[in-house]
Amino acid sequence: MGARTSGIRQIGGAPGPRGGWAARKPLVLAAAVVVLALLPLYASDYGISVGILIFLYMSLGQMWNLLAGYSGLVSLGQQAFVGIGGYTLAMVTQAYHMSIALSFFIAAGVSLAFALVISFPIFKMSGVYFTVGTWIVSEALLVFFRNWAFVKYDAGYNITVAYRISMPALYLGALAVGLGATALVYFILRSRMGLALMAIRDDESAAEARGVRLYRTKLACFLISSVYTGITGVVLYLNITYVKPGAAFGIDWTVCMVFIVVIGGLGTIEGPVIGAVIYVILRQYTYNFPGISMIMLGVAAVAIIMLAPEGIMGAVHGRFGFRLFSTERRPPPGTGPRQYPEDAADV
């Protein structure tokens, strides 16, 4: 996707013109979270249901972005983990009559195991072969579930326990998943692994030469993304309440993820947030015209790739230099590259 600015920005001693905002940012964000968490108190049922969708799709988008935007792993097979999440919920609660809470842990475990197993063949492929390979894996899983007696073949399951969950409770769960995904990606990027990822993104061979372990870093990203997508799948199916192979393992999930991330901005943390809001609202408004919303999304995605390939957030950042979650960091004193005056002025 072309080289972007390096993860390290050279800032001369001064905190920069936005120092006041930097100090107040945690407070503003905390206030925003509280306002969002109290949404069931002042919003209609419809508003809550839209909120649920926004946060769940946000989580899917963040996790796809972690793969495609930061690790260069363009996967078209993440729907496998949505399906695993949904089916784990169905099997744990319907077939074995155990608690919903348990299905989160089992979904995470199954997703981790499945991701680990398929990583052996999948990570041998690179570029488009990886993209195609991931898709074939999840298509194979779809066919497998259709022919698996254990999950009642193609008949699917009604997830009846989900009926007892109130809308506000589900909303809070979705909120936790959506914001959790955003926070997770943020902290990954601020960590040592994030530095490695950005180095890989900017120049893979240079990063490897400087001691970044490519395989391990990419595998870690793939596992995190897969497990979290599986957990999101559980909450998604608490909302949908009916799981069937064709829908659970359908490419449509990945279509959503791709659109959300591409429209919002590939390789930005805010991108999937904005993308999810746009996607869900667009889908709700065009609900009565089936097909139209997908056509509009397709046109929007193509137009954005052609005109503003960095997405909405990339365009905003390019024009105003604004970034809500900056993953850039200052080098520790004395270790960074020599500072030149023009670099400091370039902030």
Partner: protein, 290 residues
């Protein structure tokens, strides 16, 4: 034993058709490094065109096909010239996502116009058996599919190898800078390549439409078949595509023979994954792009 022979023969025949589905994808990848996610959906678009024209406009399949070929070549040229050529320099992912968007647009427009019902194109060969012995029965339809596909692949191969146009396409594929220094307009060569891919895709769309039927969302499942063929044969090799088609067709039908028809598709996918894991760049590919 009779059933086994029949299975192998059917697998080879279906494999020929699979090669016709995949060759356009292979061509476009080999020449411009683009994974055309819209390949399957555009193929089904051609199926709908043939169906619509033959029923509403011309009355015959042949004239409908000619009309469709012209329209699909135009669509290919426009897509390549206006969209893909402009993002190709920004890296493979941008172009891949553009074609992904195109696929979604194409299948939803088809859904809007033609509804979600299964359609088919009538075939004069459907009810005739050209070979009918104790060992093996081959319907005229499968035989025609196979012969048309193989003829098309050979024609394409000769065209790429022997003609001036083919030479300019190959030049653009092997080294863009050198080709341009020698006076080849590489972007134009890409347009020709996409047109060729659309023409083969239209033929694939016709044959698939006659044999299996289709609906607006069929494109994605045929895209996976095309991927399978191309990945086994190695992206960019036309004769490899034919072998890839045979292997995938045989794997699917032998899978159905040994493990039951329900897992036919699954066996095909697993064969594909195993081959990819062992030879991550395809079975027959020893060339790497650039």
């Amino acid at each position: 034993m009779e059933l086994f022979v029949q299975t192998v023969v059917s697998g080879m025949l279906v494999g020929g058709l699979y090669a016709a589905i995949g060759v356009g994808l292979s061509l476009v990848f080999g020449i411009m490094g683009l994974t055309n996610i819209a390949h399957g959906s555009l193929m089904i678009l051609a199926s709908f065109f043939v169906m619509f024209f033959s029923r509403q406009v011309t009355g015959g399949v042949v004239t409908a096909l000619l009309l469709t070929l012209a329209i699909m070549a135009l669509i290919g040229a426009l897509t390549q010239g206006l969209l893909i050529n402009r993002v190709l320099d920004k890296g493979p992912e941008s172009a891949l996502l553009v074609t992904f968007g195109l696929a979604i647009i194409a299948q939803n427009v088809l859904q809007l116009v033609f509804g979600a019902d299964y359609k088919s194109i009538s075939s004069p060969f459907a009810s005739v058996n050209v070979i009918d012995t104790r060992w093996v029965i081959v319907s005229g339809e499968y035989m025609v599919n196979f012969l048309v596909s193989v003829a098309m692949l050979l024609a394409l191969h000769l065209m790429i190898r022997k003609t001036r146009l083919g030479r300019s396409i190959r030049a653009a594929a092997s080294n863009v800078v050198a080709a341009e220094l020698m006076g080849v307009d590489t972007k134009r060569a890409y347009i020709y390549a996409m047109c060729l891919a659309m023409l083969t895709g239209s033929m694939g769309g016709l044959l698939v439409g006659q044999t299996f039927g289709f609906y607006s969302y069929s494109g994605m499942s045929y895209l996976i078949i095309a991927f399978g063929v191309v990945v086994i044969g190695g992206m960019g090799s036309i004769l490899g595509t034919l072998i890839g088609g045979f292997i995938l067709g045989l794997a699917q039908l032998l899978g159905a023979y040994f493990f039951g028809p329900g897992v036919q598709v699954l066996v095909g996918y697993l064969a594909l994954l195993v081959i990819l894991a062992l030879r991550p760049r395809g079975l027959l590919s020893n060339m790497t792009r650039k």
